[in-house]
Amino acid sequence: MAAVASRELQDGEVVFVGIGLPNLACNLARRTHAPHLVLIYESGAVGAVPERLPVSIGDPALVTGSLMVCGMADVFQLFLQNGRIEVGFLGGAQVDRYANINTTVIGPYEKPTVRLPGSGGAAEIAIHARRILIVAKLSPRAFPERVDFLTSPGHRVAKVITDKGVLERDAQSGELLLTGLYPGIAVADVQAAVGWPLRARPRLDRLDPPTSIERQLLRDVLDPQRLYLTS
């Protein structure tokens, strides 16, 4: 997932980086095909070049050597609301048919079954970044027909990168469609892992597994402690 997500980023783009796999994907892209990627973290680090994988988005390694450090009022007003962010990278406990994201509660808000962390910057990232990428593992619970709580609207979502394939938002209907598969995964495998009748594009992209360079960077350089990688 991290390798496929990193390939979505183009050199020179300004990307708002979230915690977890997006963090790994952005730092992989920076060390492979996109050395001029500008990483902006909501903590205020602009043009960060972390020499260790940040455990949190407020890690001190994001400050050392970065191009600019600003307060959070500047991050949200001067960068995000100003329209300077090209790509926003989000995760979520639930992603629905229309790419809406829930990171707030499972169950009713007043009496939740599971209380999740909440929006953080996700609501405004989803509203202001020009292109949103979502990274999430597929399961019927994580991909319901409708999110229990709409934290971040899905209308700017370009792609949802999962562990089985890639979904893209159909421009007309706004609905997510299956558009790419990893080797050895069938359309039915993906359809069985989402909570609505998922349609597939007639011609599907074949998603290449990580190259040996990507794999080595991910395992030995970026995440040797397996903070985010599972293997």
């Binding site: 903590s43 940040p54 001190p60 959070m72 939740p112 209380r115 909440g118 910057g121 971040s152 903070l227």
Partner: protein, 292 residues
């Protein structure tokens, strides 16, 4: 610290301990727990471990926040238990919303307008998120009310005796939170001469004019960090997952590391390995010419 908290933090207060991952005053939070303050409205973008501990200690009546997790690890369990049991009142925003609330408070305006929340469920569960029609363009903008805390506590790398405080590294929303507040406590790693401050005035974030008390408390932000002084104790953030998962082990932690120590120096003596493991390596900047 004891005196500053006793004098400036009262039962029922709206309290802010700010710092985004960086410079979170755990020392002040622990002293508030030791002095058994009650019915506080705790406000922060990210409640973090410090508010999880204060919630577990029974200090909080209400939480005003935008992201309640253990960064890079998972959940805040005391927070989750309190919400799932219905014992903690919540007022929830997004980060931009919280930043905007402090900005309005700092500018002494009644509200702040922002392009946000369209299409989200947040205004449905938080009626304080409203909207206004722009008198110039007719555009509908979201609004959030000013947040003016009774007391804001900020950890800084250094200050002079009057409270002119300098911060570098991640700045979070401390400046806005401090200017929005009725009272401000500054906790610092180092007390320096006024001349040190005057030699580099661009680095001053909080001026003495708004500071009520200055407390010198080295390592006061641990397990959070202070750029140039010590690293974040990521191992403790990971360990908190197991400590806080059960109410009983969390209470044992509070007994030992909060009630069981007098102050921060005592807390550090109890964990003699920390200072060596976390001390920052030197990486100085060149400085600039302020001459004219």
């Amino acid at each position: 610290m004891q005196e500053a908290i006793a004098r400036h933090v009262r039962d029922g207060d709206v309290v802010v301990i700010e710092g985004f991952t960086h410079l979170i005053s755990f020392a002040a939070g622990h002293e508030i727990i030791r002095q058994r303050r009650r019915d506080l409205t705790l406000c922060r973008l990210t409640p973090d471990l410090i508010y999880d501990q204060m919630i577990a200690a029974g200090c909080a009546k209400k939480l005003v926040f935008s992201w309640a997790g253990n960064p890079g690890v998972g959940s805040l369990h005391a927070f989750r238990r309190a919400v799932e049991d219905g014992t903690l009142e919540l007022e929830e925003y997004s980060h931009f919303g919280m930043v905007a609330r402090f900005s309005a408070g700092a500018a002494r305006l009644p509200f702040w307008s922002l392009r946000d929340y369209a299409g989200t469920d947040l205004p449905r569960v938080n009626p304080r998120i409203k909207s206004v029609t722009c008198p110039y363009t007719g555009e509908a903008l979201a609004t959030v009310p000013a947040l003016n805390p009774d007391v804001t506590i900020v950890h800084a790398q250094r200050a002079d005796a009057q409270g002119n405080s300098q911060i570098w590294g991640l700045l979070g929303v401390q400046k806005e939170a401090a200017f929005a507040s009725q009272r401000v406590i500054v906790v610092v790693e180092e007390l320096v001469d006024e001349g040190v401050i005057r030699a580099d005035p661009n680095r001053t974030v909080i001026p003495a004019a708004i500071v009520s008390a200055v407390v010198v408390e080295p390592w006061g932000a641990h397990p959070s960090y202070a750029q140039g002084y010590y690293d974040r104790d990521n191992d403790f953030y990971v360990a908190w997952e197991a400590i806080s998962r059960e109410g009983r082990s969390l209470q044992q932690y509070l007994e030992e590391f909060v009630f069981g120590v007098r102050d921060r120096a005592d807390y550090m003596r109890k964990q003699p390995m920390l200072a060596g493991a976390l001390k920052a390596r030197a990486q100085f900047c060149a400085g600039v010419n302020y001459g004219f």
